[in-house]
Symmetry: C2
Subunit: 204 residues, 2 copies
């Protein structure tokens, strides 16, 4: 019997990364609204919620003690201490979603993406970037939630992170006033990867 079609694709582990202020949260939010068959990972963090953020939806807001217990019990896919606060991806959640056959998508900082790549070479890494420094700085300022010193630190970190762009699988420029274009491109990348041979086979 001749096989006319390739084996069905395994679910993808999709990582949306990039410097602070580049629009990762907005992009993930808009992807959610498109009602795609994606599992959106909920990150655990020790930082306090920003206005409007909901526990268990935007993040799992946990105490430092609870977070350190998860680290000790190896319950995190990756974690990092960013600007004095822990962030991490609960392993069990990702495994369960992949096992259900759904593509899994998560936003994560550039340092975390490098960790995911090491643990899971078959992860699909997408780097979001801004068109230039002015745009990024403008977006960081719009948040109104940080001191000028914190902004300068984020911008310096962003510049270091941009050097990591070439280690990702795809780079998407999240242009001002072109969010839908960014979303369409990310959806096209996911669609294309479902047809790649050999297919990425994620094991965690």
């Amino acid at each position: 019997m001749t096989d006319f079609t390739p084996p069905p694709p395994s679910p993808l582990l999709i990582v949306i990364s990039g410097p602070s202020g580049v629009g990762k949260d907005t992009v993930l939010q808009r992807l959610k609204e498109r009602d795609l068959p994606l599992h959106f990972v909920v990150t655990a963090t020790t930082r306090p919620p920003r206005p409007g953020e909901r526990d268990g939806v935007d993040y799992f807001f946990v105490s430092r003690e609870a977070f350190e217990r998860m680290i000790a019990e190896d319950e995190l896919l990756e974690h990092a201490l960013v600007y004095g606060q822990y962030k991490g991806i609960p392993k069990a959640q990702v495994r369960a979603a992949l096992a259900s056959g759904k593509d899994v998508i998560m936003r994560i900082d550039v340092q975390g993406a490098a960790t995911i790549r090491r643990i899971c070479p078959e992860a699909l890494l997408i780097f979001l970037t801004a068109e230039d420094e002015e745009t990024l700085l403008h977006r960081l300022r719009q948040r109104h939630t940080e001191s000028e010193e914190a902004l300068r630190l984020r911008l310096a970190t962003a510049k270091q992170e941009l050097a990591q762009m070439s280690t990702f699988d795809y780079v998407v420029i999240n242009r001002e006033y072109a969010l839908e274009e960014t979303i369409d491109t990310i959806i096209a990348i996911i669609e294309a990867e479902h047809h790649r041979v050999p297919h990425r086979k994620v094991t965690l």
Copy 2:
């Protein structure tokens, strides 16, 4: 000066391949109608035109003598003798289109695609397949242009060609009554490849 964006992508050399009857011509025709910024390669062939085919649009219909002169003068990117007739891709046409910055797309049989891969490892190879043998045989019969013996030969060849699927970059199932889905997938693949790092850098 920090680079916020990757270098602009170089034009792609896109090859649509797959067994006879899988729908390569229909897919290319429909892609043309979508009015995308693609250069559609016109293949040179020594076979006589089928009803409705136009010289210089569907193919360059050339004499055997003219074709053999092109071979001798190394004017073809690849050529093959298929069912007793020559088919080939004029080199100059592809180089000119790539130099103008346009992605170049061509349909080619599976044997020809293997040649393109050898000459140009950075070519983007898409394998079109049917859902099963019955569908492929049905489509071949619908052409009403070939003897039963020719049909059987094409089906036997198709089965050998399916074994080459895994050497392509992408596999797309061109399902019955789902041509637009096939076209959308191919467009998504091209869009995704414009964001790949490192980008395919075609040299011919």
